[in-house]
């Protein structure tokens, strides 16, 4: 299983699409590693600096419809090769969400008011997240402030994360 704890990057916008996560011109890459430096390269967001803002971050928290657009799995891979294995959002585009679990990573939906609360509490400070996968909780820490939120995962998503992704699961079971 991958590492699901680390420092949090807050991206305060809905509809962040796969072209913003990894521009189409990098689809010609045939290795995952080549995508690394280009994560979120075209994202225009106040306070966000491509390359710099993602450095030493392992978790992304964002708003609604995260990962909309193309079906490219390069988007989750761009996160993966940067060591970001968890995206938390109000909602996800279906394909992006599935792609995260297919790679053995986490894309977790939390209610809109919980997300809003997380932004209020933590978006402007250095925040660390600890994931308790067994008990399905996220614990956010910033200085003295600590906040735990529960999450839910379907049994299948859980099985995928445990197996290390869908290819391994499917080859073993079908």
């Amino acid at each position: 299983m991958k590492n699901f704890s680390g420092n949090v990057l807050f991206l305060d916008r809905s509809d962040i699409n796969t072209d913003e996560i990894i521009p189409a011109k990098y689809l010609t890459e045939i290795t995952k590693d080549a995508l690394g430096p280009h994560l979120l390269e075209d994202l225009c967001l106040e306070g966000f600096i491509p390359g710099r803002s993602t450095r030493d971050k392992q978790i992304v928290v964002s708003r609604a419809n995260f990962g909309c657009g193309s079906s490219r799995e390069h988007a989750p891979w761009a996160f993966e090769v940067n060591g970001i294995h968890v995206v938390i959002a109000e909602s996800f585009a279906r394909i992006f969400r599935q792609n995260m679990f297919n790679g053995g990573m986490l894309a977790v939906e939390l209610p809109a008011d919980t997300i809003a609360d997380l932004f209020t509490r933590f978006a402007t400070t250095d925040t660390h997240l600890t994931t308790d996968f067994e008990n399905s909780t996220f614990t956010f820490t910033a200085g003295a402030s600590r906040h735990t939120v529960p999450f839910t995962l379907s049994g299948f998503d859980r099985a995928l994360v445990n197996a290390g992704g869908w290819v391994e699961y499917a080859d073993a079971n079908y």
Partner: protein, 431 residues
């Protein structure tokens, strides 16, 4: 209880329910192109799993960048080509025989009512026009499809759009789907299948139905879908005539994939298209839509006619009709890419290629081309393109470029005018 089309397809293809609401279904078609497949091929090889479940049910094409434009895209093509040869994939289409995947594969008769198909491409939803369930998937799903011929889905709910009314002259399937997306929003059909029904859809050709279903993903839909009918049978007849005694028998068989009267829908939307005007998008999201008449101030630098949305012969005919005897504005670069070799030859036989060239268009080989800004027809910063494609995302056709999604008629009229313009003066006629 009555079932929707997609429920019927899942019932006839289900292999496993590993967990509640996860349906592993068998696949009739696994489609591949040179952009998303090479990584899958390489990753399968790296895992020691360089196998395919059934070479006859895998279809592959080099279409996004063809001819190859640099060493990287040449390498991508080579990986797909070598893999197809290695595994005896007969339906592999290389330059000279290739075309835009979602136009080429239906044209070859590969997509049938009740089929299941996946591809590493979001516009796979186009195939729903045949009453098939077809979804764009990520590379890992594609790997599993190639390896095992299965894919896991949650059973999607169906959102039905009943399209009624009469389309005005100069208003096309593209305008209809833009109006639907504007109404639903880019997230309005997320995780759902959009069933297009009603008299307007019933009277549409397969080409028009493909235009509708092609953009289901732009409203977040997993797949668009149209109930198979006589039009479907007629389109497919050459490919299926050995399987059925006559068209009546085929129609009866396909009826198994029409929705039941009592089917349960996530919603039913009545969409009246009477009075609809030619439309264009105005921002970087496909649900930002306005009448073209309200945007005639917008100058265009390039006009692109092609793609899996509107690169079929019917689209070229409409555009050529507008262009016949006309010349495009000297400030406009016109590019047309017939979506398949067959469409190209048909356009030649009908004299359409001549019309385009007389008007000042560049005619390219069948390819995705300018649609995705990584092959030909890339926009410079600040440039504007009126395109018959399906995506206007920021940077889609080139960094800093703006794409206005329009119908082929509007694209042609805009090329002549040098700015966004409807074909004819539709507002006056309608008033």
């Amino acid at each position: 209880m009555g079932r929707t089309i997609v429920e019927k397809i899942f019932d006839s293809h289900r292999r496993d329910n590993p967990f509640d609401d996860v349906h592993v279904i068998g696949l009739d078609v696994v489609a591949c192109h040179e952009i998303t497949t090479p990584i899958a091929i390489n990753d399968l090889a790296a895992r020691g799993k360089d196998r395919v479940f059934d070479p006859d049910r895998i279809k592959a094409v080099i279409d996004h960048v063809t001819p190859a434009k640099d060493s990287k895209t040449a390498e991508q093509g080579k990986i797909l080509r070598d893999w197809a040869r290695r595994h005896g994939i007969r339906d592999f289409f290389d330059i000279g025989r290739n075309g835009v995947c979602h136009a080429l594969f239906p044209e070859k008769g590969f997509i049938r009512p009740g089929y299941t198909a996946i591809m590493g491409d979001s516009h796979t939803c186009t195939y729903g026009a045949f009453g098939a369930f077809a979804a764009g998937v990520g590379t890992t799903d594609l790997e599993v499809g190639i390896l095992k011929g299965v894919c896991a889905f949650r059973l999607p709910e169906t959102l039905r759009i009943d399209i009624t009314g009469t389309l005005a002259d100069g208003v096309y399937a593209k305008d209809v789907i833009l109006s639907v997306i504007a109404r639903l929003g880019v997230n309005g059909a997320t995780n759902k299948v959009i069933e297009f029904s009603g008299p307007v859809v019933d009277s549409m050709s397969m080409a028009e139905r493909m235009t509708l279903c092609n953009m289901a993903i732009e409203a977040g839909g997993t797949c668009g879908i149209c109930a198979p009918d006589q039009t479907t049978v007629d389109y497919l007849w050459d490919f299926i005539k050995d399987d059925y005694r006559d068209k009546t028998e085929a129609l009866a068989a396909f009826a198994a994939y029409r929705p039941d009267a009592g089917a349960r829908y996530a919603g039913v939307i009545h969409h009246d298209v009477s009075g609809l005007e030619p439309l264009a998008t105005f921002g970087h999201k496909p649900d930002q839509v306005k009448p073209v008449c309200d945007m005639t101030h917008q100058k265009v630098d390039q006009v692109y006619i092609g793609s899996c949305t509107n690169g079929r012969i019917e689209d070229l005919r409409v555009a050529a009709e507008v262009l016949r005897g006309q010349t495009i504005a000297p400030t406009v670069r016109g590019i047309v890419s017939p979506a398949t070799p067959r469409i190209y030859r048909q356009a030649m036989a009908e004299g359409l290629i001549d019309v385009f060239m007389q008007a000042g268009f560049c005619v390219t080989n069948p390819t995705c081309g300018a649609c995705l800004g990584m092959s030909n027809g890339v926009l410079a910063e600040g440039e504007v393109c009126a395109a018959t494609t399906n995506r206007n995302f920021n940077g889609r056709m080139g960094i800093g470029g703006m794409v206005h999604l329009v119908s082929p008629a509007t694209a042609a009229a805009s090329a002549i005018a040098g700015h966004l313009a409807p074909a004819g003066n539709k507002r006056k006629q309608g008033a």
